[in-house]
Amino acid sequence: MDFVVETRGLTKHFGTRVAVDNVDLRVPRGSAFGYLGPNGAGKTTLIRMLLGLTRATSGDMRVLGCPVPARRAEALRRVGAIVEEPRFHNHLTGRENLWIVAAAREPAAHARIDGALARVGLAERADERVRSYSQGMRQRLGVARCLLADPELLILDEPTNGLDPAGINEFRAFVGELVGEGRTILLSSHLLGEVERICDAVAIVDRGRVVAQGSIAELSARESSSIVIGCDDPPRARSLIASLGHVARVDTEGESLRVVLGSGAEIEPTAAELNRLLVSAGLAVHRLDPQHASLEQTFLDITSRLEDAA
């Protein structure tokens, strides 16, 4: 498989604090890759190292096949990035801000300014000062700035921060379009739902370490699905259900039971089987709620296990 970002043993210390701890990351070409972790997990620091904004304490990085920082200029030629919130010279217009960044890129970047502005829907207001732009417009201008590189790789750090729901939806659709064009997206976020909706592969990071990495389907499959049941006489129901072979365990949650399925068990047929079992035993079932394993559950389980271990 071809990887646009590869890191090996990447580490960054700030004094005695370890912000990024021995990270091995591989981002497949053409994917929307989520870098998921709670605030303060070291996501932005990793991105800053990839872009040469800060130096790594140790480890190796390759971006688009080029070692960084040794061949940083070549590596970043086809990379667009938004690090934290997009920032601009407020006294300049949107077009002038793009012109300034284009001046630092290859000459062809100048030819992309109008197209980039049109693509993000800012052509009409491109000659207004950025000072008058809303947060959403700034975000779009940030994306336009990325497009000046005609990027093979877009690195987006918490890109929906500060956007309203409509802006978030618009942004998701836009990222989808970019992936559809064969570009790779590396999206860092602490928002599980956002990563799950946008990305097809993910690395989960906690306290500077990558604790899981793979496709969302693979990671979700690591965790068990469950069925929440509400019925008469929960203790009796519990003993009946526990006897089934493909049930891993039964937990009591208030008046309900959570039936955690063993690996390989299919959730919908098992739910039907449980319903038949309980009804035939004379128990009234008033709730039957199949819950597929989600990335959120995986994320919470992994990070809570780490906290327990710590």
């Binding site: 040469g52 800060t54 690090v83 920032r87 601009f88 010279h89 630092a104 890129r105 590189a149």
Partner: protein, 271 residues
């Protein structure tokens, strides 16, 4: 709004890399309205105000006040322009050095892969392209008033006009480099300007006039630059005694240290 787009270089006329970066710096500074107005007031308006005031004095009482033009008033205007032009240059230098950082755009420029040294060095021609034309206009205004309002007084020779223009260009150029270096080092415009004002307007003149400092005064930039001023416009007692070689070394050292510090910090700071 349309005019703004037209002012940007057309795509087919995109210049080579160092020139593109320098033009980007020029654009950033030129569009900073407050800074440009202040710089124009210090360099151009100050000359107009000075000569108009002198002329008004002369018209109101020609016995007590001589003509506004002529050699002596030109001499004064050269020192006023060099001083106020240096202040304007220091402000522009501070902006050139610190604006990208202050706006948070420096990291986006670094993330293009362009070398930090190239980003820093582009600020030099970009900033000088702002301050030198302003000072040149101020100087031309001074020359015009000097000649047209001379009223029979002797006027400077063409050679002296040229020498003074070069000297003022050197003076403000060095002040710009000082502002650029310190702005890049500190990373913030306001403190940089405050420090430079305190240095240019208060500390350096005081230190230069403390004769007890002996050869220590030679290390002052203003003393070294003053030594290179055309001899016919400088009274002997105003000059700190030093050799031409020492003054050149001192000027070079100030320029190298300022730029070196700014370049070093630009290359090493977290963007």
């Amino acid at each position: 709004m349309v005019a703004t787009a037209e002012r940007l270089p057309a795509v087919e006329r995109v210049p080579r890399m160092p020139f593109r970066l320098a033009r980007a710096e020029l654009l950033k500074l030129r569009r900073r309205r407050g800074l440009m107005i202040t710089a124009a007031l210090l360099t151009i308006a100050s000359m107009i105000v000075m000569f108009v005031a002198l002329e008004l004095f002369h018209v109101s009482n020609s016995v007590k006040h001589g003509p506004a033009g002529g050699f002596e008033n030109f001499r004064r205007s050269v020192f006023v322009l060099s001083q106020l032009g240096s202040i304007a240059a220091a402000m522009i230098g501070a902006s050139a050095g610190a604006d990208d950082l202050g706006a948070g755009v420096f990291r986006d420029l670094v993330a293009t892969g362009r070398s930090r040294a190239a980003l820093f060095l582009a600020r030099i021609p970009g900033g000088l392209a702002v301050i030198w034309p302003l000072v040149a206009i101020g100087f031309v205004v001074s020359c015009i008033f000097t000649v047209t309002l001379a009223g029979g007084l002797p006027t400077p020779s063409t050679q002296l006009f040229v020498e003074c223009a070069l000297w003022i260009g050197l003076t403000v150029g060095l002040a710009f480099l000082l502002g650029l270096g310190l702005g890049s080092l500190i990373g913030s415009r306001a403190p940089t300007i405050a420090i430079l004002f305190a240095w240019i307007l208060i500390l350096e003149p005081i230190l230069t006039h403390i004769t007890a400092l002996g050869v220590g005064r030679d290390a002052m930039l203003s003393a070294a630059v003053g030594h290179l001023a055309p001899s016919s416009i400088v009274h002997g007692e105003m000059r700190v005694p030093m050799t031409l070689g020492v003054s050149i070394v001192v000027i070079g050292a100030w320029a190298v240290v300022s730029l070196g510090a700014g370049l070093w910090r630009t290359q090493t700071r977290d963007a």
